[in-house]
Subunit: 291 residues, 2 copies
């Protein structure tokens, strides 16, 4: 398998994640080809200098690629995995950037033998989507999970690592099920809490719309993820149901305990619980979360 | 009662809120006197130019004040309300910036007749506390709730409004119980959700510490409020228990519904619920929340 600098990379899906990945890779490999459904997206990617070439034709876009990265919502990735195998050249590395991994890796296992599959999930993003929000620096400083299969060769994994490092991210190799459990706790759960918060505020607003006049930055930040793209989040939730339900359950236990302490007026219990949580939050504040 | 420009204002408590209020008022009234428990705090306030004079002596600090603003945690305000009346000159306007209002206003009703009480709560803040974080612009563009009592005169309320406007905030007159219900939904609930999220992540981390390596900006922002000062939050929760429990209850209903939809794999139900929430979030994104 080639060095990254010698490879032609095709990025399928030019939204926030795909457009940013293409832009970050451009100039670090032989060519970056962008594949999108809509002509306007391809034109924007070219105009913004995020790709060397662009096309709406999947077969043409990936035919000569050494590396193909699927950067669409999860369930489109699952569908593409069923179609793309025969379109890929011998030895092609096929990666993805989907937010859940177990189901994707299961489907990857069924790819034809001439393809080298490697699951991926960069731990960055924004609550806005689309190529307009893409930026080549999006991945810098973030963890980028890689989930190799048993059939994935060492050289394919090394090329995947090189690609991750080329956009400034840190490769983190994980089992796909373990990945899905972890992101349920720190990514999918926060999304659902943000949604429940907005839903609760809406219920309050039904009786008294003045609630929006007293909502401040605490509400705004805690509910930020509720603005996430719904199709993307649906795919994530529906392909990670067991882990999401488990995370919700763990969180409900926490909420019920805090609720019990408030109801009981248990000042010492509440101080102990909230102080431990605050200490942990302060320790994690400097996580490499980017901006 | 005087115009704001003619008044001497004493701010009791020089943390984030008091220090910022003093700094924002300075130069817009005859003098701003800062009162703090610790000499170092007074010195910092003077060095940072947030006050004209400073003292650790409450009686001396408020003796000649036309306006006194209590800017301590809620339960310190409740205690001060029981002591400060006899120290205040005739006609003095006594305000506060405490985050809950019903209990404070009840205690204000027992103040001696020569004092004009007015509850207040600015809808701004940060998750950091202390005078080091204070900035004179903190209040700019934010709502500032005022909760007058039956005994509060029109001229006292007008002076309170002038003070709020002097620091760049928008006065919003509300009944104290209504205030407490509204902030439970958009301020105290987000804090508890942030805490539950950190607690749940901690539970996950107990089994697999790698969870912190995959935590990204979504986790960071949704959990931001968990870093809030515990003493301040304890006072808020314990002086607003009924409204906080009601907000938790409304939120639990939302969470259970989302959880049910995920468990059932009800794609259409989930899309409908999450889309409505996203629309509402986008509508509220441009709330005057400041930074």
């Amino acid at each position: 398998m080639r060095e990254l600098a010698d490879t032609r990379v095709a990025v399928v899906g030019l939204g926030l994640m795909g457009g940013s990945l293409a832009g970050g890779l451009r100039g670090q490999c032989r060519a970056v080809v962008g594949v999108a459904r809509r002509t306007e997206t391809v034109e924007t990617a070219l105009a913004r200098g995020l790709v060397d070439r662009g096309t709406t034709d999947l077969a043409g876009g990936v035919r000569q690629a050494d590396v193909v990265v699927l950067a669409t919502p999860v369930r489109v990735i699952l569908r593409l995995l069923g179609e793309i195998g025969p379109l890929l050249p011998e030895g092609c590395l096929l990666m993805d950037v989907g937010s859940t991994k177990a189901q994707i890796v299961t489907n990857m296992a069924a790819l034809p033998d001439h393809v080298q599959p490697l699951g991926g999930h960069p731990m960055c993003g924004k609550e806005v989507s689309g190529i307009a929000a893409a930026e080549p620096t999006l991945y810098q400083g973030h963890s980028f999970v890689l989930t190799p299969l048993l059939r994935t060769s060492e050289t394919a994994l090394a090329l995947g690592r090189a690609l991750v490092e080329a956009v400034g991210a840190r490769p983190l190799v994980l089992d796909p099920h373990r990945h899905d459990r972890l992101v349920a706790a720190v990514s999918h759960l926060p999304y659902l809490l943000a949604c429940a918060l907005v839903g609760a505020a809406e219920t309050t607003a039904d009786a008294d719309p003045t609630v929006w006049d007293v909502a401040a930055s605490g509400f705004r930040d805690t509910s930020r993820l509720a603005a996430s793209d719904v199709t993307m989040m649906l795919d994530i939730l529906l392909t990670n149901r067991a882990a999401v339900l488990e995370a919700l359950n763990v969180c409900s236990v926490q909420l019920r305990y805090l609720s019990y302490l408030v109801e009981a007026g248990d000042e010492e219990g509440l101080r102990t619980a909230l102080s431990a949580i605050r200490d942990r939050k302060l320790e994690t504040r400097n996580l490499k979360c980017g901006t």
